[in-house]
Symmetry: C2
Subunit: 231 residues, 2 copies
């Protein structure tokens, strides 16, 4: 048979937040290449006979091996395998889908993409707080706090992040949140703006730290120290 490559969004963690199409693709897979951001309960939705391979690309590791993942994906598809590349959240929102789509096309393979619920959407639904309340947010923006080199991206639009009529979602903020918040406040963001950190959104272990833009870093440091004390 002819091989295929499908990028599938695994959503934020709760397996019930996968789409029907994502489950269908997982059930038809010969091979599932998954990220370490994918929740174990989501993997259980894959066809039992499928070979599941952790390709282990966490956003926080300096060596990302994206080229190796691309090569593996292409090799398996050329062998006639139905390859599902399973990615946390939505592959199209800070999921590096662009590079995998380009690799598939460069190899002459067609590629299909199944969108997923992104972490911000999962978190908003759990909190029952709209991302775009019409009295407060004219604009919703997603940024990553983690550039190719693991540092804060240098060319973020700081005035856009200081806009009080926007809701801002920061992906992968762990290492650089303090620096990001500082620069946004320098650009004019009100330090009293409510800010919320959410870990493991929609998973059983979900937890949240609520503060303001000015105080979130200290509260986070304290919460993380408390949570992982002794581990």
């Amino acid at each position: 048979g002819r091989g295929s490559i499908t990028l599938v969004g695994a959503g934020p963690g709760d397996p019930e937040l996968l789409t029907l199409k994502a489950v269908r693709m997982l059930q038809a897979a010969d091979v599932v290449l998954y990220d370490d951001l994918v929740a174990p309960a989501v993997l259980d939705l894959a066809r039992r006979e499928a070979k599941k391979t952790l390709v282990g690309k966490s956003g926080y590791k300096p060596s990302c091996k994206q080229d190796d993942i691309n090569a593996l994906m292409v090799t398996l598809a050329r062998q006639g395998k139905r390859v599902v590349r399973l990615k946390g959240g939505d592959p199209m929102v800070f999921g590096r889908a662009g590079e995998e789509i380009a690799a598939a096309r460069a190899a002459g393979l067609s590629i299909e993409v199944v969108p997923g619920i992104s972490a911000a959407q999962g978190a908003a639904s759990r909190m029952a707080v709209s991302l775009t309340h019409r009295d407060h947010a004219r604009r919703l923006q997603f940024v990553t706090a983690h550039a190719r080199d693991g540092k804060l991206p240098v060319d973020l639009d700081w005035t856009a992040l200081a806009d009080k009529a926007a809701t801002t979602v920061v992906y992968m903020p762990q290492r650089t949140w303090g620096e990001l918040a500082g620069k946004a406040m320098e650009a004019g963001l009100d330090p009293h703006t409510p800010a919320l950190a959410i870990f493991s959104a929609t998973r059983p272990e979900e937890y949240r730290v609520a503060a303001t833009v000015a105080t979130l870093k200290d509260k986070l440091d304290a919460a993380v120290a408390d949570k992982f004390r002794g581990s």
Copy 2:
């Protein structure tokens, strides 16, 4: 039994893009209150015995009757009904979920939210184009081109919309796209920036018009005139 209110994201149109949880909620509903943005094929996923009521709030109509929808939702839940409020896309992304959540809470009712695939995510997956390609987009922003009064919002952050390192998604652009594009170009957006209009993303009738920020309005006018000629 005790009534309940669940806001459910219907996704962009393809019924396979509903989440497993959305389908479960639709299968358990006594009443489904749906928007005219919800695709008919999605409604077929609801429990057959559920009463399906079009509450008919299109984003384009001047009279939006949001208060009537809130009152109906609350009344039915108080009667003990399991009410699903089914909304196109993701209720938390320009879906007015905030007002319905507030109404439920004001009535002392609990409310649950099930996120959905937003139109931009559906469109990106169909085109296999990432919304955040790391070489081109540091920031992803969603705006609505349709304020409470049906006009272009006056307080959009135009410099944020002119940022060449951002991908911008404009929801409900029909009436105001030309004006929005003009103001973004005045604020510095490169007129040659690629721009794509997508109608009925992920539905059988999906179609797209590709242009640049400067030329999209004329191409759209021509395409729409052509498509609806004689209708």
